[in-house]
């Protein structure tokens, strides 16, 4: 064997060796990423450049009966007229499409009841120019409930609070705004200590561009004081709202609100109140498989000794825990802010139920907390007040620094601070109740 043969073989062998060494322990495959968007969460006013923005309103009772109705309020704080399209979705009817133009720095109210008659009508609002904020007003004989419309759909929706006690009616309005069927289907579960998955609602299919209404308290979950609901689609995404008519158990009135599109580990409330005849409940829902321990911290108030200890709230798996804030006896009368937080990531939903005296009766309101990524230094309110109103707005300073709040009205001339509502001081971790004057009212 000559030297050149050995050299040739050695080179080839060397090549093989390099190949083998390189080929050992290859890295794992990498999945391509088309889109990685944040999970659906608290509705917000988008500021990013978009081709079109879409809002999903959970539903309004437009059954044609006296006292019932619904309105969509679209505010356009921008400098360009917003051209849009509203699609009204109802159970078993063809979608109704309406063009809409919202003049710059103005708001528009669309009377849904004038367009459709149905047990509930949900709406999809698309804005193609300018930026806007969209809210809905669900009009009921016992009151009008204002709720923000969602920025996005979700595969799961959660409602922490709910009741069918003493004849109260809870209805879940499920909306599929898409042209294809959704489901395979949503699973409804009402949790009162133990999970129950009603067979009637397994495999439920949501028809394209329609709404489906599930009434609790008739044949299902009768006379339940606490009723939390999880709705999960096996395929696709949808929108869920909760219509609640309170008829007893210390509650009266009507609410229509959007569900929580995701779980979180922190929920903020700007407004809570302790006072004569006022009942304030924090309802925390844990639909996960593990028990969750959460801290409830009260903000904007101090006790006699200067500090209010956080309250620990234990929420068993697939269950609801209720904290009667007034019964704690540690908070002074007046308003306060609240933050409920836990170390268990994406585990709970918290709603605050406030029942206040209203004339000879009481009125109950329910508010879903704001998720931590959505505390903001700028807020838009599409629905104004019809007359001067005390404590119409409540701001909570989530920082440890003093700040100030300015309330502006948006009119033809643009954004202008309201007289007397400029640079209002707000203490660190404090709250500020703001009275809206008559000039801010819009009948």
């Amino acid at each position: 064997v000559t030297g050149r043969r050995l050299a040739a073989v050695a080179l080839v062998l060397l090549g093989f060796a390099v190949g083998v060494v390189l080929g050992l322990d290859p890295p794992g495959a990498v999945a391509p990423v088309f889109s990685r968007l944040p999970a659906p969460a608290t509705p917000f006013a988008p500021t990013a450049e978009v081709v079109s923005s879409t809002w999903y309103c959970p539903g309004m009772p437009v059954n044609g009966a006296e006292g019932f109705g619904g309105e969509i309020v679209i505010g356009n704080p921008g400098d360009v007229d917003a051209v849009g399209e509203i699609t009204l979705l109802t159970p078993g009817q063809e979608p109704v499409r309406l063009p809409v133009i919202v003049v710059a720095r103005e708001s528009t109210v669309v009377d849904v009841a004038a367009e459709v008659t149905a047990p509930f009508a949900a709406a999809v609002v698309e804005l193609f120019d300018g930026r806007g904020v969209v809210e809905q007003r669900a009009i009921h004989p016992v009151g009008t409930a204002v709720a923000p419309c969602a920025n996005s759909t979700s595969a799961s929706w959660y409602f922490a609070d709910g009741t069918t006690a003493q004849g109260s009616v809870q209805q879940i309005v499920l909306t599929n705004p898409f042209p294809g069927r959704r489901g395979g289907g949503p699973l409804v579960r009402h949790d009162v200590g133990a999970a129950v998955a009603p067979r009637a609602f397994q495999g439920l299919v949501l028809g394209p561009e329609s709404t489906t209404v599930i009434t609790l308290g008739e044949n299902l979950a009768q006379d339940e004081r606490r009723l939390a609901v999880t709705i999960t689609a096996t395929t696709g995404r949808f929108v869920a709202g909760r219509s609640q008519h309170y008829l007893g158990d210390g509650r009266l009135g009507y609410t229509m609100s959007l569900g929580a599109p995701s779980l979180d580990d922190q929920w903020w409330f700007a407004d809570g109140e302790i006072g004569e005849g006022i009942t304030e409940l924090l309802v925390a829902y844990n639909p996960t498989e593990l028990e969750v321990v959460a801290d409830v911290v009260f903000l904007g108030v101090t006790s006699d000794d200067g500090f209010i200890e956080p309250v620990t709230l234990t929420i068993p798996s697939r269950s609801v825990s209720v904290l009667d804030v007034g019964a704690l006896g540690v908070l002074p009368e007046g308003r306060h802010g609240i933050v409920v937080s836990t170390l268990a990531a994406d585990s709970i939903v918290v709603e605050r139920v406030l029942t206040r005296p209203a004339g000879d009766f009481v009125a109950t309101t329910v508010v879903l907390g704001v998720q931590p990524g959505f505390v903001s230094s700028r807020w838009h309110v599409a629905t104004g007040v019809p007359f001067a109103l005390e404590s119409a707005l409540v701001a909570l300073n989530v920082t440890g620094l003093e700040g100030s709040v300015t309330v502006s009205a948006i009119g033809p001339g643009g954004e202008a601070p309201l007289s007397g509502l400029e640079q209002l001081p707000i203490p660190a971790s404090g709250i500020l109740a703001i009275d809206l004057p008559a000039e801010a009212a819009r009948p």
Binding site: R5, V9, L11, G15, L22, V30, A31, S35, V50, P208
Partner: protein, 493 residues
Amino acid sequence: VIASLLALALHLPWSLRFFDTGGRTALLGAPLAGPRSEGLVDLARFGVGGSSFGVLALGLYLPVLVAPLIARGWRFGWSVRAGFLVVVPGVLLVAADRGSIPELVSDPAVLMAPIALGLALSAATVVAAFSEDIRGSTFGWRQPLGLLTAIAVGIGLLPVLVASAGGRWEQSETSLSQLLAQLPTDPAEGDYRILHVGDPRVLAVPGFEYRDGIAYALTSDGTLTATETWLSVASVGVRSVADVLDAVANDQTARAGRALAPLGVRFIVVPLVDGAASTIDDPLPSPEGLLDAFGDQLDVRRRYASSELVILENTAWIPVRAALTGAAADASRSAGLDALARADLSGATPIMVGRTGTTLTAAEASAGVIHLSVPKSDGWRLDLDGSRLTPRSAFGTVTAWDLERDGTVEVWFETPTSRDLVVLAQALVWSVVLLLSISGGSLRWRRRRRPDVVIEPGSDGEPGGPVLNLTGRLDLPDVAGLREGRQGGERAP
């Protein structure tokens, strides 16, 4: 390198596309999201045969090592060349497989071709060496080694023989093309296009790069043919698809269907398993968020879903060739994603259904707009009752003509003379190349019949006596009285 440049020149102007946008994709395929990570053994066996049985193909590599040891003469030279043909691309292939050379990640077949050639040459060299250099020589280590190598080659071929026996090369019985056949062909509601989006390794046709690991392609309705296997030049229309995909991926619109409508896109196909690169047992990861993002579109619905692919349908599509009236006609005068998102596309009537290519037939049309979802080009002609109309850009990407009255329209594409001239020039150049090639071979054939070496016996300088003409290579000792012929010294096998 010179040959490559020559080939590039001979294919002008078409070869210039490799230097244009998307040229790299046309040459090497769309890039992947990360390393292929096929693994050394899978690459070495060319992915043929089951993982356990296919390992026998590694026997084909033994000749690469053995050939330089047992070959002599010209066979040794070829064994070394074959070895380098295997080793150099092999190392590059393995490095590319683990992501060290991202530019070469896309398609391993590009580097497997020279490796396969090297293996074939090595095997041939061993056979030749066994026949010429070993057989009949004194028994030694070369005989058993040669025999062992021949056996290894035989065993190495077994996976190929088994895989090819059925004619399917172990490919899936059901191909993506077969699944796509469920989509209607030339439907009465109008011709349409299919947007394929997904991992470039599983797309039914070559795709344009969207982003790493995701490619897209447009095809027409009907059965996929060989013409779809060529990646065409990305037109304005095709490039606009990327803008729509961006808007969908970034949650900037819920009206992707309207945005794709001018291109005639009715179906969006997301392939998941093709039975070759991605199998049911070992699927490639599907692009994250792709189906969710399209699932959030208000004008796209899921038409079919299986483990192999998902087919979505655009409910706002308009036919490839259509007569537009009303809102759709007005909308065709606008351009851009913003305008498309709000466009009311109702009022599109299909025309010339089933017609493909550049020669279209006549059709009756009402006053309005004739919409043709191809990029605006001066070559497209439309006559309304014999009168030529001027085309305009529609939706910013495609072609339309405004008809002010009802009538019979004829639409066709008039190929520019310049293109015919270029084709003619190329044909001439190729003819010259062919002629040169033939004549060159003929010349070499004649020369080989001339005497290579003339040996004149005796060294006294006297002419005469027997003359011996030799052809081919001549290994002669340095003897006195030997005079070179004109072609002497040529070394040929």
